[in-house]
């Protein structure tokens, strides 16, 4: 086993241990999903990862992404109309596009993806028994084929995301799954509302607003979704979350 391989296996083991730790305590689904996208980027050495969930109204919605860069978020959102993630969700099969250049499927999606600076896309289904609830989406700047081991890791991470959504005892019950999906998606909307408040208050990009929101939740040991709700409802002052650097009414 090469040194690189063994260090990667260690990283992989650590990631799963840390995710498993999270899942046995009282956790915040949306925060776990975000963490998972970050792990995907690190473990699979891709450049961006996102999780899209079925909103149970026939559309895929972005629930979490490793970056909140507007252009990338747009890419994830675009896939509610067309793209590998949507196909993966519909067929419940992994889809790999090692190099998008020259491909003719999904013309709008590919044009936008290349334009954003990505060359390769992978999508892994999030499955629970017979149901597919969403897909994990991986983007790379360079043309990139994932090997069988990497695809297995990616699928395992997608499975962890599915379990994270379900929470403990819920796995047997379809009604709980439906409830949990709605909670995760609504939390995402709350986060967008809170990002908007912070971005306006501090005159920041949405990505920076998200970083500060999450940083504040971590440093005060609160759930990301609780902090976001407080900021959106103005029960948590934006200035407190923004911190001294952004607190006042800058330009």
């Amino acid at each position: 086993m090469s040194a690189e391989q063994s260090s990667r296996e260690r990283a992989l083991a650590e990631a799963f241990v840390s995710l498993a730790d999270t899942l046995v305590t009282d956790y915040d689904v949306i925060d776990v999903l975000h963490q998972l996208t970050i792990e995907c980027v690190e473990l699979l050495r891709v450049d961006a990862a996102g999780l899209l969930l079925s909103d149970q109204r026939g559309t895929l919605q972005m629930a979490a992404a490793s970056t909140e860069r507007a252009r990338v978020v747009e890419l994830f959102q675009l896939q509610s109309d067309e793209g590998p993630c949507l196909d993966c969700f519909r067929t419940s099969q992994p889809i790999s596009a090692a190099d998008l250049r020259g491909m003719t499927e999904w013309p709008r999606f590919i044009a936008h993806t290349l334009d954003t600076g990505y060359r390769s896309v992978h999508a892994l289904p999030m499955r629970l028994r017979t149901e597919t609830i969403g897909a994990l989406n991986l983007f790379s700047i360079q043309p990139r084929a994932l090997g069988p081991d990497e695809l297995r890791i990616a699928q395992a991470l997608a499975d962890v995301a599915t379990i994270g959504i379900l929470q403990e005892r819920a796995i047997r019950r379809r009604d709980i799954l439906a409830e949990q999906l709605q909670v995760a998606l609504n939390s995402r909307i709350v986060i967008e509302q809170a990002k908007g408040v912070l971005a306006e208050r501090g005159q920041l990009e949405m990505e920076r607003a998200f970083q500060l929101l999450r940083g504040y939740a971590r440093s005060t040991q609160q759930r990301l979704s609780d902090v976001a709700l407080g900021v959106a409802n103005r029960t948590i002052a934006a200035d407190v979350v923004l911190g001294p650097l952004h607190g006042s009414t800058s330009p």
Binding site: Q56, N186, V190, I191, E192, Q193, V197, A199, E200, R234
Partner: protein, 244 residues
């Protein structure tokens, strides 16, 4: 088997037409298309503060009253936890989840309760209560229909609260697609909610007032909500305190 596309079409029309009759029409559309026996829609501002807008019959009305006076039950839970509460068979919950409510509710014929929060992120306006007299979970496509009805209720209640109703653009689809493109499902676009947050800060108002302002502006300018939201995000358009 549900007539889902038909239900979605009816809901779109109800949202487009708006007006004080919309709560009744939404509930009746659900009862017509889904295997339900009763329905009700209530505005809520706190777990113990509600205003019933419409109920299909005395039993639905009684179930709502009961929960709000007891402070427990699926409606209260859906509102407080901001999540759908889907109960296939109330007899299974008789002694655990809501002991007082379940004991009283089991004296009515209702067995299945499906309560959906009328919400968008931090905005929670009320609950849509769907009841059936036979136990059983909603099938996935039936749940889809119910969720669409809750979305329709969200836009309708927002309109009733701010007085701007009858706007076909609220569901993000132009009556006639100007550029011949597929209608964009605006309301699911995250930009709408980012812009809502920015307006919360600009106007120093609650998120539902901010979303109302966004929607009213779209109405006045004959734009879609998404178009207006994007203007706000790129900071070409501001909603200030004095100029909502």
């Amino acid at each position: 088997m549900t007539e889902l596309p038909a239900l979605e079409q009816v809901l779109r029309e109800i949202v487009a037409e708006g007006g004080p009759d919309a709560p009744r029409r939404i509930c009746e559309a659900c009862m017509a298309a889904l295997p339900l026996d009763r329905a009700a829609l209530a505005l809520m501002t706190a777990a113990d503060q509600q205003e019933p807008l419409w109920a299909s019959d005395d039993i639905a009305r009684k179930l709502d009253d009961l929960q709000f006076s007891l402070g427990e039950g699926p409606c209260v839970e859906a509102f407080v936890d901001r999540r759908p509460v889907l109960v296939a068979d109330l007899t299974e919950h008789a002694h655990s989840r809501w002991p007082v409510f379940a004991a009283a509710a089991l004296r009515t014929p209702v067995r299945g309760l499906f309560v959906l929060p009328v919400q968008a992120g931090a905005i929670t306006l009320g609950v849509l209560d769907l009841y059936r007299d036979t136990p059983g979970m909603l099938e996935p496509d039936e749940l889809t229909g119910a969720l669409c009805a809750a979305d329709a209720a969200m836009w309708t209640l927002l309109g009733l609260l701010d007085g701007v109703t009858g706007y076909g653009g609220v569901d993000g689809e132009r009556a006639v697609a100007a550029d011949g493109q597929q209608p964009v499902p605006d309301l699911h676009r995250l930009e709408v909610y980012q812009a809502t947050g920015m307006i919360v800060e600009q106007m120093q108002v609650s998120p539902n007032v901010a979303l109302s302002a966004l929607r009213a502006h779209a109405f006045a300018e004959s734009q879609t909500i998404l178009e207006v939201a994007r203007e706000v995000i790129v900071r070409r358009l501001r909603f200030d305190k004095e100029k909502p």
